[in-house]
Each structure stands twice: as structure tokens, then as C-alpha cells.
Subunit: 322 residues, 2 copies
């Protein structure tokens, strides 16, 4: 296979949030980056500034996961991390509730420095991706600001306040993706989805409400997913009514929705062609093909197996869609 021959290369676009999604992104990168251009479109709804630093949790997780630097045991941040900065910060600042590891900080400081000098989030992300020797491209869904807020009783909580500071404990009655309606879809994502037809568009198994829908709230993206001729394949973030990680199931329940693969697929019904669910789950949705696979991704072999399943599924869909 000739990796330099453009006509032979496949194109894969994956919408991805944080930890759960990044596992599949890693699988895609490992099984397909040799002969495919992989573009991981990252959620920016969790982004925020703290201590003047621009922190982009989902992009960070994708960068660390794909470069082999993620702390898989802890589930966030970098492996072999140290915490001297936080210890020193807590001595001079009372409200230091967001944990920044010493190594993790290098990424935030470097990114903030580049952005302060005028670089966009996407330019910076692409430079950092190269610095971390990640083959797959990582594209923030937009260079405009999208900020996820969650309403609990009468208070709108910024995402990190809810997710990290209050540990997802408040019950949520409403979610808003501030800025999304006016945010411009990143040019390269538009180009990939609208002007080109990728071989596969993958919706990674991230929390629909907190990771995928902040992106879908950009009207142009949802429209592009509906219109693309590429097969759009989702992977369920819920297995047997439980989220693998995070507050997905809790949020669904608070919204009066039974957490299930069915409920996830339903949220994407206007644009997915196919949905991958766990062996014991069932989904029935008109116009959406279902494939069953062991989708709990623990080992790297799991991640590559699920990625292979998704790509095979997309290839078979592509034949039927055209």
C-alpha cells in the first residue's frame, strides 16, 4: 500500500467528546491512520478559561489518548503526573478546585501562549497534535466559543462548575450550548462533510447531551450530517442501560428518558445510517441499520476491534447508500 498516493487514501471523520469517544478515536487512529486521513472533530463546549489559561478538556483528552500520554487508570489527565503546582497554588489561592497536573499544565500554558499571540484554537490544536506526534488530525468543531451550561433548579451552571466542582451532583433540568447557534462550523469540517464525501462519518460513543450535541447545536453541522452522502455510523455510549463513564445515564433519567442505546440512537435519528450497540442491547429505528458488537473498550485490542467493526459497517453502508 502506498501511503503517499492520495487517490488511494480513505477519509474518515469522527465526532468526538472526551474519554469514551477518545477510546474509539484511538482505535480508528491505530487501525486506519496508515491508509486513511482521519479527522477527529472535537467538542469545545467544555472549554473554559481558568487562571487565564485556555483549557480544552476534550481536545486535551484526545491529544493525550492518541499520543499514549493519557492516564487510563484515573480516566483523565496525563499518566505519570505530578501535582506540585496545585500544592503551591492552594497555598496562595483558596478556590483552586480545578486540578491541573504539572505536565498537563505544559499543554495549557503552551496553548494559551499561542492563542494570546493570535493563533486560533484550531491552528494551535494542529501544532500541538504535531508536537505530540499524533497522526490523526484533531479539529475543534468551531473556532468560535460554544459553552455548555446546565440548569439546576434556578441556577445555570457552567459545564466545569457542574462537572468538576460539583461532581455532576446537581439534578439538571435544562442544557444550553451558548454560542452554538451563531458559531461557524470549522471550514475544514464543512469542506470534509459537504464538498467531499468521506468514506465514513463516525459518531463516537461520547455523552450525547454533553459531548456530541454541543457540536450538533451548530446548525450547519447537523444539516451537513443530514445531507452528506457518506455513511454516518454511531456507536452507543450506553451499554445495558448504563453509561460506561460519566453522567450520561443520570442526565437521561433526569430528563425523563430511560438511558438506553435506543434513546441514544433516537437522538441522532435524523442523520445516522447505522448504529453499533452492545451484544445484549436492542435498538429499532426506521432507516437505521444496527450492528451488535462487544463495545466495552478496555484494552487497546478492544478499541481497535470496535474501530474495525465501525469501518466495516460504514463500508457496507456506503455500497448501499450510493
Amino acid at each position: 500500500m502506498n501511503g503517499t498516493s492520495g487517490s488511494q487514501r480513505k477519509s474518515i471523520v469522527a465526532l468526538c467528546g472526551g474519554v469514551g469517544g477518545a477510546k474509539l478515536a484511538l482505535g480508528l487512529d491505530r487501525v486506519a491512520a496508515e491508509n486513511s486521513d482521519i479527522s477527529i472533530v472535537a467538542n469545545v463546549g467544555d472549554d473554559f478559561r481558568w487562571l487565564g489559561l485556555y483549557i480544552s478538556p476534550d481536545i486535551d483528552t484526545i491529544l493525550y489518548t492518541l499520543s499514549g500520554n493519557a492516564d487510563e487508570k484515573k480516566g483523565w489527565g496525563r499518566k505519570d503526573e505530578t501535582w506540585s503546582f496545585m500544592e503551591a497554588l492552594q497555598e496562595i489561592r483558596s478556590d483552586a478546585w480545578f486540578n491541573l497536573g504539572d505536565k498537563d499544565l505544559a499543554l495549557h500554558v503552551e496553548r494559551s501562549s499561542r492563542m494570546a499571540a493570535g493563533a486560533s484554537l484550531s491552528e494551535t490544536t494542529n501544532d500541538l497534535r504535531a508536537a505530540f506526534k499524533v497522526r490523526s488530525r484533531i479539529i475543534p468543531v468551531s473556532d468560535d466559543s460554544i459553552r455548555t451550561y446546565l440548569r439546576s433548579k434556578n441556577t445555570w451552571l457552567p459545564f466545569q462548575e457542574y462537572f468538576v466542582h460539583q461532581k455532576c451532583e446537581p439534578s439538571v433540568s435544562e442544557i444550553a450550548y451558548r454560542g452554538a447557534e451563531l458559531a461557524r462550523l470549522h471550514d475544514d469540517v464543512r469542506h470534509l462533510l459537504i464538498d467531499e464525501t468521506p468514506d465514513a462519518v463516525v459518531i463516537c460513543p461520547s455523552n450525547p447531551m454533553l459531548s456530541i450535541e454541543p457540536m450538533l447545536a451548530i446548525p450547519e453541522l447537523r444539516q451537513a450530517l443530514r445531507e452528506t452522502k457518506a455513511p454516518v455510523v454511531g456507536v452507543s455510549p450506553i451499554i445495558s442501560r448504563e453509561a460506561v463513564k460519566g453522567p450520561t445515564a443520570k442526565l437521561f433519567t433526569e430528563f425523563g428518558i430511560e438511558p438506553s442505546a435506543q434513546a441514544c440512537a433516537y437522538r441522532y435519528r435524523d442523520f445516522i445510517d447505522a448504529f453499533v450497540i452492545d451484544l445484549n442491547d436492542e435498538v429499532e429505528l426506521p432507516g437505521v441499520e444496527i450492528r451488535k458488537e462487544r463495545i466495552l473498550m478496555t484494552t487497546n485490542e478492544d478499541k481497535q476491534r470496535v474501530a474495525t467493526c465501525v469501518l466495516d459497517f460504514a463500508a457496507s453502508m456506503a455500497k448501499r447508500k450510493t
Copy 2:
């Protein structure tokens, strides 16, 4: 002694650069802060931005020294420091020549964050001083930008480029304190020196050219030192023709000046009333009283002994000056 009785309290103003000066500042803090208001006026000529962070090396050194956090063995930075940030940064950035320890970083990030939110350097410094539980006030000589540049052959080097990156190796033919001429002396320093008469004004044993003269280059400060009725007592940074630390002797030599206590005192001749030198040194300068003391400050006892000597000297001068 009643520390709350304002009328009884003495007022001490000390002009201070980095490590050498901070040793005496520590001595002053330890022997006099109980019954004196100590104001340490800090050089900002070394200040710079790196990675978007505002770094103020002399203020940092004073903060760390007076709070007991300085790495006295290494001579800069914080004790018990770790270096994970730098290791991670070097993986994604090639020109990471300025070392920031993980704990040290907490100070820079916190300061930069406060300044980005609109606080001045002096407000930030005062808050940080309180957070570090330092009793003596630390006042940046100006909230305006003063930046020391050194000319080597045909190139003007910013201070940190010369001092840290090139390890003081280039030979220097000219020094400029950019911004000093138009910089406003900090209001509190003006007030202390001009409206009040401190019990002592101390010129700490810092590098004259790199630490004290960037401050003196503010015309109002030099004028205030000439006019104040307070006794102005300097301490030599040079012992037996050698600087205790740093490039003082090398710079003097490059300017064709023999490095000596005499040469240091001479640079301050228009405003000092008294000068403290080492036991084996000699200074003769009209109108300047000389006191000899063992001024090499290694232990905390040394620092307190030299501080006591300076304050006694100032007290005896004050009687004669009024």
C-alpha cells in the same frame, strides 16, 4: 513594645534586587518587622513575559526569600521544587530555555491571571505577599514597564536573554533601562521618601548596574534619594573585588571599572550618606561615612547581623543629619 502603636513604629525603605539584596531584606524583616514598617522597593527591570506569563524575578526572589521558600542552595527559585512542567513543555516546544519549576509556576500563573483581570503589578504583589504571609511590604518600583537591555557588540539583548539564556557570557558595552525615563515612581515609594521621612533608606547589596540602577533610572527616584532627609545607607555587593554572586564583577571590568566596594559607593555618591563594606575593603568618598562589617551573608544570623549593623548605622546618621 506595642506593635500596634503607629507613632512608635519605625519606617524602613530598602531598595532591593534579587538574591544578594533579598538576603539583607530577609535580615531587615527578621530583626525589625516587629516594630517597623518595612517597605522593600523591588527592581522590575528583569521582568518579562514568557509563555504569556508575567515573570518578575526580583519580586519572586524577595517573596520566596522572606517567606522561607527560597532554594538557597541553588540560589534561585523555590526549595523542594519539581520539574515535570518543564519536561512536558520541552516535548512540545523547542526553545524552552527559561526554567520554571512546578511550584514556582503557581506564582507566575496566579500573578498573570490577576493582572489579566486588571490588577496592577503592585496590587498583585501586595496580595501575593499577604498570601505568602510576608510581613514586609514589597513594592515594585513602578507599575510601568522598565526593561533592562544589554548591548553586546551590535546586538541589544533583553535581560533574560543575557542573564539566563546566554549565562552572562556575552561581553557588554552598554546597558539601557528602557522605559525608565518615563516610568512613574510608585506612589507609595514617592510618599515614603518625599512626604514622610523614613528612619532608614537602605540600598541592598544588589548588582548596581542590573538591579539598583534600573530603579535609579526613574528620574524621580534618584531625585527623591538626593533630597530625602532620611539617612541613606548602602551595603557593598562586592567583597575584595569579587561579587558574591552573579556578573557584577564581570560587568564592571567590561566597563573598564575595577570591581570594588569603592566603585560601587562611587556610583551612589550623589545620594548615600553611609556605606557598609567588608572588613578588608577600603572606601574613601567625601560626605559618605563608612562602616566595616563582615558582610558575606551565608547564615540567617549573618543576614540579621548585617541588617542590625545597617539600622544602627542609619540611626547614628539620622542624629547627625537632622
